[in-house]
Subunit: 206 residues, 2 copies
């Protein structure tokens, strides 16, 4: 049995031993896998292809979508399902911030990911073409350009998220960078897989 | 006597009657003006051209740059000079946020302007290609994509700026949009010109 989180560029697998691995959406053939795979997918092309394969089971059918909003990505929903009380900060190409209190999803917002935002500043002016300084002081107003954009990107996000006074769970490809900003956050690389396991237990699939 | 704030695309004039007008940097010939013009300029090409004209007086020489940081734009410095105590939010192609307490500049940060940030979300995913909703509720977590990006852009900025507990002064081309978010802010369209007048008085130039 495998778990698989399918994005726009890759299949992200987790095997029962806790080992994860990725395969490219463009080159990987899902028919090569014989065992049962429980998956979620934000990739509609792949989702359609997988409907023909009986051993690939789409877990999206097992969550109550009514608790969420219509256009909310299924990966975001499964990250939220993983926690009972807290705020999920999923730092990837976009950063999604979702608030859950006592098992109830309260809503969430979308902020640009690191690379997208760096490009934004560079496009505004070549004078703002810097990498972000994730060690920028959050208690002192910046007095140089690199810190001025780093603070503008990171402290605004921090001020909003910390105002919820909730435990923060960090996930996504850039979680380690953001852990420098959200110092009390718990980093959970496999949060979506946790959500998948929780839903499978609820549905008696495992 | 005229005041002029020169940007990358235009000369922005203010005449003694308080009327303002703009001229294009590419087509306007500054030699056509005979009267005295006090100016600041972020446009190094224009600045150099104006050095030959005796009736164009660069006010940047009259501020103590030591109070600021080296790469800080002169327009930003003059906006800050205009106030004694408060936070200046200058909403243009970038948004600069500068904090001044009891006449002392404490530092500031840079956030993307409206158009740049809208493009950022659109580049991340076509599903995020929306105009910002400046009327988005700031007290309730979003539950649709347009509000999720509007809140992500606006509420994060709001949370940070409002945490200073200082009077907010809004200026720049997009000030009217942002006045919907910063409801207690004072909109001062001509803040830079106010700064210029203040510096001229200090230097006994008027």
């Amino acid at each position: 049995m495998l778990l698989c989180d399918i994005g726009n560029t890759s299949y992200h697998f987790l095997d029962p031993s806790g080992r994860d691995f990725k395969e490219s959406v463009t080159t990987f053939n899902p028919q090569t896998i014989q065992e049962r795979v429980y998956f979620i997918s934000v990739n509609s092309y792949v989702t359609q292809k997988l409907q023909e394969l009986k051993n690939w089971i789409d877990l999206s059918a097992y969550v109550s979508r009514a608790n969420y909003y219509e256009t909310m990505g299924i990966d975001r929903i499964f990250a939220v399902e993983a926690i009972e009380h807290g705020v999920v900060v999923d730092a990837g190409s976009a950063i999604t911030v979702d608030r859950v209190e006592n098992g109830v999803f309260l809503g969430g917002f979308i902020y640009p990911g690191k690379r997208a935002m760096q490009q934004t500043y560079a496009n505004i002016s070549p004078a703002l073409e810097y990498s972000f300084n994730f060690d920028v002081g959050l208690d002192i107003m910046p007095k140089n350009s690199q810190d001025a954009i780093s603070y503008g990107y990171l402290k605004t996000l921090y001020s909003e998220v910390s105002s919820y006074n909730l435990p923060i769970v960090l996930t996504g490809g850039d979680a380690k960078d953001f852990a420098k900003v959200f110092r009390d956050a718990k980093v959970e690389e496999f949060l979506i897989f946790s959500g998948m396991k929780k839903i499978m237990k609820k549905a008696s699939l495992c």
